[in-house]
């Protein structure tokens, strides 16, 4: 297991000591190794930010995309080669701010991606401005009198827009993260794993202690298949209560299986050039 995990290790991370990214990175590698994958068999698209910097620390067929655009890049990658499990690793600013429109539509499309969001409430790489996940009133360099907007509600948003697997985890709990990532990857369709991640350098509010106090695991009696129940659970976040676990899951055919040229055993990249133009040309006669 350790050897399998080590295959995924790239350069030594440059994250701050104590940053939640260390644990998330470890959990991702464990989840991949646990599924018997190796770096040749995984596609990862990274966003821009501290989380995206994992591109140098995690071995895979990767694309370090533009800020906000990791999701559409991954959508294209998956459609080109659906045989490769495809992850998106990005931050909350990237996914819910700059790339909000893409996130919304990727949920609608039920693209078969596992999106791991590092939800830390701040823009760490640009030294600590508020993210869209920051609580209303949060004071930061870009909001010296407190952010006026309320925070986004990522789980409720994803569920209501068509994501078919929505989970939440906490960067202080590697086994739980690994489990959520694995479940998300095994799920066919769009899976979101929102990871509550303390930024020890710039976020003085959402600390490890804060999440330990305010988060809880959903119990065995919780039913993630209920759409209405999941929404009720998801909006607890608006009251600073953070449920951990699979919040919502439903079965629905993923996007790539519904495109007209889909062949189960032959991804687009392996489909040869057509052999005649005759049918197409006839339209113009």
């Amino acid at each position: 297991m350790l050897a399998k995990k080590r295959k995924f290790s790239g350069h030594t991370p440059t994250w701050c000591p104590g940053c939640g990214d260390w644990a998330i990175g470890g959990a991702i590698k464990e989840a991949l190794a646990n599924q018997d994958l190796d770096p040749s068999g995984v596609g990862v698209v990274f966003g821009i930010g501290c989380s995206g910097n994992m591109n140098d620390f995690l071995n895979a067929y990767a694309y370090h995309a533009l800020h906000g655009r990791a999701i559409p890049t991954a959508v294209g990658l998956k459609l080109a080669n659906h045989s490769m499990p495809t992850l998106v690793i990005a931050g909350d600013g990237d996914t819910y701010g700059e790339g909000g429109n893409h996130f919304f539509h990727a949920c609608r499309g039920n693209h078969d991606l596992t999106i791991i969001v590092h939800d830390n409430g701040v823009y760490g790489l640009t030294t600590g401005q508020v993210a869209p996940t920051a609580l209303k009133g949060t004071i930061s360099k870009s909001t010296p009198t407190g952010i006026i907007e309320r925070s986004v509600s990522p789980l409720a948003f994803a569920i209501s827009q068509g994501a078919t697997f929505v989970a939440q985890s906490f960067a202080g709990d590697i086994p739980h993260m690994r489990e959520m990532i694995e479940l998300g990857m095994k799920h066919k369709g769009l899976s979101l794993v929102n990871v509550l991640q303390p930024c020890v350098t710039f976020n003085r509010v959402n600390t490890y202690q804060y999440y330990l106090k305010k988060s809880y695991r959903v119990g065995a009696d919780y039913d993630p298949s209920s759409y209405a129940g999941a929404l009720v659970k998801a909006i607890e976040m608006d009251e600073e209560k953070f449920p951990l676990g699979v919040i919502y899951q439903t079965a629905s055919q993923p996007y790539h299986e519904q495109v007209p040229a889909y062949q189960q055993d032959k991804p687009l990249v392996q489909i040869p050039r057509i052999s005649t133009l005759h049918d197409l040309v006839e339209e113009f006669r």
Binding site: L66, G68, R69, T73, M84, A261, R273, F284
Partner: protein, 567 residues
């Protein structure tokens, strides 16, 4: 002899379909054509006019006077009477309205026929089609056959109904106006191998020929029909076409698909392209092949969506922050669009950088004839050249951005066992890892820049010269769709030559300067207000052309306005 037919009427009543059917009959009869639609940016209301110029040889430009004007309403007559001559025939229903005297008249009783056959007003088009075919000496059976195949899916009743109206229109002309009918498209006995298509159709077909497997777009006039055409071909062409949420998603999805190993392309107009620009720069540094179809319309901003302009050349050339190589191709007609589109996919793969294929509303939407033998020939002779794209790398460890003499490194399609790498939007070292060292930065900048030199050496094509450059007194210099109108001038005037650019960026200064050393008067002919090719020639090749003929009112340039300004 060129012959011009126009049909006009209220928008939303089928003028476009009628016009295209007329064009196809012209082609099937063995003649060449160029057609053009004028329409406002509305679904209903306003005026539509469909103009078809017919000739026995390839048509480069629309004829400026009208031989047959079919008026489905009075506005058509009023809007087009300045294009009429005393020989022109006006087809209309004198029960509906009257027109000024001075032209030849064919009265088709649209109203009466509709009444008698209990037809809906949209059938007026069908009657007009029959009447038109009669007026230009076409074959009624050919039209009937076409209607049968067009409406087959809707059932026999619909077919019979349409045939009835076509025949009524045809008969009313043949029976009463035999003398005014001219054998313009009398069927040519030679077997017909022609196709009728627009520049947008040509891009779609070129993409399929090149084995493009992923096309992504967000509808934007005048590029939208590439999306709808390719979407309808997904099974036949074995490709995936995605209408994404916005142009940013469009190009990033295509870049993702291209990284995945398939040939990928996007299409848009200026406003959508503006949203794509950051990702053009991404494709530049990550060295991901991408083909962008950019069909121009008059800007800035929303501008005039359904009219034509060449206002985005410098925007395309300079698109993207930072410095990286890029190739801009500007085909001049439908045939060149097919060929250069297929070439664009090769260039994107060979140089692993963005290639932009430019069109404009005129080229994108005007139909013209191309030889199906040529199209099929291109399909069978073209073997996609993927350059240094590999399924398995030559060296171990594999270095995605290995510094090379030609600036191009092996691009491994993700999935090969035993390897992995990252394509990186950050500056990087040879292995793809992020690097900010001065050495890596310099090495990668220089490597990317070398691709441009390699391109100029191996794939840049000099502009095409039409006419005799040595003896010409006036040399027209143009790019893109202005080729047609310049060739028309060449046909009509003595001592003219035309220089037409298809490989418009980057330019090879040394080789180009030799074309501009003559004593002739060089004149830029462009569909914009600031002579953008002129600016580019100054910047890229040190060539300064003082005189320019520019049009920027959204209407296509005419040969006569060029002739008036050079004589």
């Amino acid at each position: 002899m060129k012959f011009n037919w126009i049909i006009g009427g209220e928008a939303g009543f089928g003028i476009m379909t009628t016009g295209l059917t007329f064009s196809k009959i012209v082609s099937r009869s063995g003649y060449h054509l160029l057609d053009y639609v004028e329409y406002p940016s509305l679904i209903r209301g306003g005026h539509n006019a469909y103009k078809v110029t017919i000739d026995s040889e390839p048509v480069h430009a629309l004829k400026e006077t009208v031989d047959v004007l079919v008026c489905l309403n009075k506005a058509t007559f009023e809007l087009h009477k300045h294009e009429l001559t005393s020989d022109s025939v006006v087809v209309y229903d004198n029960e509906e309205f009257e027109i000024e005297k001075g032209f030849k008249e064919i009265h088709v009783p649209f109203k009466k026929i509709l009444r008698e056959e209990q037809g809906q007003s949209i059938m007026k088009n069908t009657i007009a089609l029959g009447a038109s075919i009669a007026t230009v000496g076409g074959d009624l059976q050919m039209l009937v056959d076409m209607i049968e195949s067009q409406f087959k899916k809707k059932g026999e009743q619909v077919v019979a109904y349409n045939k009835l109206f076509v025949k009524r229109g045809y008969d009313s002309v043949v029976q009463n106006y035999k003398k005014l009918c001219r054998p313009v498209i009398a069927p040519n006995p030679k077997p017909n191998e022609q196709l009728v298509m627009t520049g947008n159709d040509a891009f779609a077909l070129g993409a399929v020929i090149a084995d493009c497997k992923f096309y992504c777009s967000y509808p934007m006039t005048p590029s939208s029909s590439v999306l709808t055409t390719l979407a309808s071909w997904q099974q036949k062409a074995q490709m995936t076409v995605r209408h994404a949420e916005d142009e940013i998603a469009v190009i990033n999805s295509a870049i993702g698909a291209s990284h995945g190993g398939v040939r990928a392309s996007v299409g848009t107009s200026g406003g959508g392209f503006a949203l794509m620009v950051e990702a053009i720069s991404l494709a530049g540094i990550a060295e991901t092949p991408i083909v962008v179809f950019l069909s121009q319309r008059p800007g800035p901003a929303t501008g005039m969506p359904t009219w034509t302009e060449q206002g985005d050349l410098l925007f395309a050339v300079h698109a993207g922050h930072g410095e990286f190589p890029k190739i801009v191709l500007t085909p001049g007609d439908v045939e060149e669009m097919i060929r250069l589109t297929a070439e664009a996919f090769d260039l994107a793969d060979i140089y692993q950088t963005p290639v932009i294929v430019m069109s404009d509303m005129f080229l994108s939407e005007a139909h013209s004839t191309v030889s199906s033998t040529d199209v099929n020939g291109l399909f069978s002779t073209m073997k996609p050249n993927r350059g240094k794209t590999v399924m398995n790398p030559t060296d171990r460890p594999y270095l995605r951005y290995k510094v090379s003499d030609d600036g191009v490194s092996e691009r491994l399609i993700p999935g090969a066992k035993g390897h992995f790498y990252q394509a990186n939007s950050y500056e990087h070292g040879e292995d793809g890892h992020t690097s900010e060292t001065a050495e890596d930065r310099k090495a990668q900048v220089e490597k990317r820049n070398r691709k441009q030199l390699t391109y100029l050496k191996h794939h840049f094509k000099m502009p095409t010269i039409y006419g005799e450059l040595k003896s010409a007194q006036t040399v027209l210099v143009c790019w893109g769709s202005l080729k047609g109108v310049c060739l028309e001038v060449l046909k009509e005037q003595k001592d003219i030559a035309v220089i037409h650019f298809t490989h418009t960026y980057p330019l090879d200064q040394k080789r180009l300067q030799a074309l501009f050393n003559n004593a002739a008067k060089y004149v830029l002919v462009e569909q914009n207000s600031t002579s953008q090719l002129g600016q580019l020639l100054r910047q890229q090749a040190g060539i300064n052309i003082e005189k320019s003929i520019l049009r920027y009112d959204g209407r296509p340039m005419t040969a006569s306005e060029i002739i008036n300004q050079i004589c």
